[in-house]
């Protein structure tokens, strides 16, 4: 057996002995997957928004808002709606007891039926941005309908003089009853776009990546302080074999732990990673890239302490830069370009191509980029090789 494999095997045996291997390869990824599934699980059926209606108009128009629009929300479980006075509603929203309140002022219907402007007010809690958005959206589309009727009536009147009550009703009915001629269809599911769960699972995985690969490299520094490094150097073993052996430990642990994370999030969280072959290619190339980066960082360190603290900073910074938790690419062209320096961005990109039923080969560009990162960092680390393996 080549020396590098012997050394890697010895390392892994030590890691199994102190249980850190199990910890890292299995326990941590599973626990993280479980935590994420806890966060997402109950939240995937979001709790109903809490709205209030302050109807100071008490007209058929305002009642219709309550009975048609808001009732629909309640029936669908999207929101609960309570009626109350304005002061109470405002306080409740301000205190965070309510997400938003709809305020229909007195005389609303009259104004709607005239040509005067009318306003429907939505008061939202600053901590419930999504709920407020939805409330605003609901109110807007309702008001849209009202405007349509007004415009239709005005349009007809404009041409044919004033209308009778009956004609007015007719026009209103016709407008209300007409189906919307333009509809919007969300085709995101068919595109190569990660769904929310998978996006977070992927972000977590890729973030995790740069931490797990520290093991092998840190063990090299350990050997130096243990004194066993000099024994390895005295043995008929190439220096490169020693380093490769250490890196193999990193790669082995990295691949296993990522695989467990992928499987764990698939099973527990319901994340859909896509074609297994594609995912496998991404995992292996991602681990290689991450190992390369970790080696470069470690090759600059003199002690395990230094290596450890530097790895942490690099891992977090690159993780964020690479878009592990929020889409950095949208922050501008500069960010999008800079993020491509990180393996994280390519890993996510590769996963994106697998979403929506992408084929395995679609990941090849991303895999190529990851391998390039691995090669470059590997080369840099190996020129500093002498430093690490100096006794």
């Amino acid at each position: 057996m080549p020396a590098s494999l012997l050394i890697a095997w010895k390392d892994l045996r030590q890691r199994f002995r102190d249980r850190s291997a199990i910890m890292l390869a299995v326990v941590v990824p599973l626990a993280l997957a479980a935590i994420f599934s806890m966060i997402f699980g109950p939240a995937s059926t979001p709790t109903a928004f809490e709205y209030a209606l302050v109807d100071e108009d008490r007209s058929p128009v305002s009642r219709s808002f309550d009975e048609d629009v808001l009732a629909y929300l309640e029936d669908e479980g999207i929101a609960t709606v309570d009626e109350m006075e304005e002061a109470e509603a405002r306080t409740a929203v301000s205190d965070g007891d309510l997400d938003a309140a709809f305020l229909i002022p007195p005389g609303f219907a009259d104004r709607v039926q005239s040509r005067a402007p009318a306003r429907l007010e939505v008061v939202g809690s600053v901590d419930a941005a999504t709920a407020t958005d939805v409330a605003r959206s609901v109110a807007s589309s309702y008001v849209q309908g009202l405007n349509a009727v007004r415009v239709a009536v005005a349009g007809v009147a404009h041409q044919g003089g004033s209308l009778t009550e009956g004609e007015l009703q007719e026009v209103a009915q016709q407008t209300v009853a007409a189906a919307p001629p333009v509809t919007i269809e969300d085709i995101s599911a068919d595109a190569h776009v990660l769904d929310l769960k998978t996006y977070f699972a992927a972000g977590m995985a890729v973030f995790f990546l740069l931490f797990t690969v520290q093991f092998g490299v840190s063990s090299l520094i350990e050997e130096r302080s243990d004194g066993t490094l000099s024994r390895l150097l005295a043995a008929p073993v190439r220096r490169s074999s020693i380093l490769v052996g250490k890196l193999l430990t990193s790669v082995a642990l990295g691949v296993v732990s990522l695989t467990v994370l992928v499987l764990g999030t698939s099973l527990l969280l319901g994340a859909s990673w896509g074609n297994p072959v594609g995912v496998g290619l991404l995992v292996v190339s991602g681990v290689l890239a991450a190992t390369g980066i970790a080696s470069v960082v470690a090759s600059l360190a003199k002690t395990a302490e230094q290596a450890g603290s530097w790895q942490a900073v690099v891992a977090v910074s690159l993780g964020l830069l690479g878009g592990a938790f929020f889409p950095v690419q949208q922050s501008g062209q500069l960010m999008a370009t800079v993020s491509l320096v990180t393996p994280h961005a390519w890993f996510m990109r590769g996963l994106g191509t697998l979403a929506g039923g992408g084929e395995a080969l679609a990941v090849l560009p991303a895999v190529g980029a990851l391998l390039l990162i691995a090669a470059v960092t590997g080369a840099v680390a190996s020129t500093r090789l002498g430093r690490i393996v100096e006794p």
Partner: protein, 316 residues
Amino acid sequence: MATDGDVMLRCTDLRKSYGPLLAVDGVSFEIRTGETYGLLGPNGAGKTTLISMVAGVLEGDDGAVALDGLRMDPSALDAKALIGYVPQDVALYPDLTARENLRFFASLYKLGRQEARARVAEVLDVVGLSERADDQVKTYSGGMKRRLNIGAGLIHRPRLLILDEPTVGVDPQSRNAILASIEALSAEGMAVLYTTHYMEEAERLCDRVGIVDLGHLIAEGPPRALTAELGQAEHIVMAVEGDLAAAVAAVDALAVAGRTTGDAGVLDVLVTDAESALPLVMEAATSSGAAIRSVNVQEPDLEVVFLHLTGKRLRD
């Protein structure tokens, strides 16, 4: 495979600096097959650096190391296969058992599985750890760890065994055991390179001794020959009370007196013939105003040789 007669190790003009510090300065020596060669010198003499270069762990700035005709440097795998290395600090994996440690090192030296298993059992026996072979090394006492440390260097039956101060901080019993096992190995025909700053060990074990100080090899030869070279065969050691410096000066002024030193109430003077010199020395000391508490006459040893050559003690 090239061989070099019966010269197992040949070091030629080795040189190594650490920045401005010249650790090894033009050292050359040879070790023959079956010979035990000692490198004697105080801490900081450059012994570990030399050893590291011989073991191919460190690259020298200049000079050459050859193992049985094979050139040795960090990438010389064939030369490395010939040596066994026992570093000064215990170099073992604490969370692996003795057996696992030995098996791992055996595999690095390309021993086949059968051979490795047999050899591991043998070595465990030799170092007396067969009973505790399957306990993790971190549970061992210091002495046990040291024995295993040596065992790990023997696993592949090296032609040259290199030991770097193997008895530092070791209790007398373990030390004895270690020395005995090295003698046994030497008797079997293994060449040994042994560094130490304990002259008793060097005298006991070594066929030849090289004395190093400040990166130089300042003398070389069998222990007996070195001491004999001095010409001045014995030294008188007196415990003295009073003004030691004055006593030293007075004794030193004598014609019969060779190198005279005074340290911690002890006066030490080299003489050719103690019997005749003794009364003169004692008189000189008392006349200077000191009171003599005890007198001892000692056979010369390497410590003396070292003192003579360098003006320093081996042990600080």
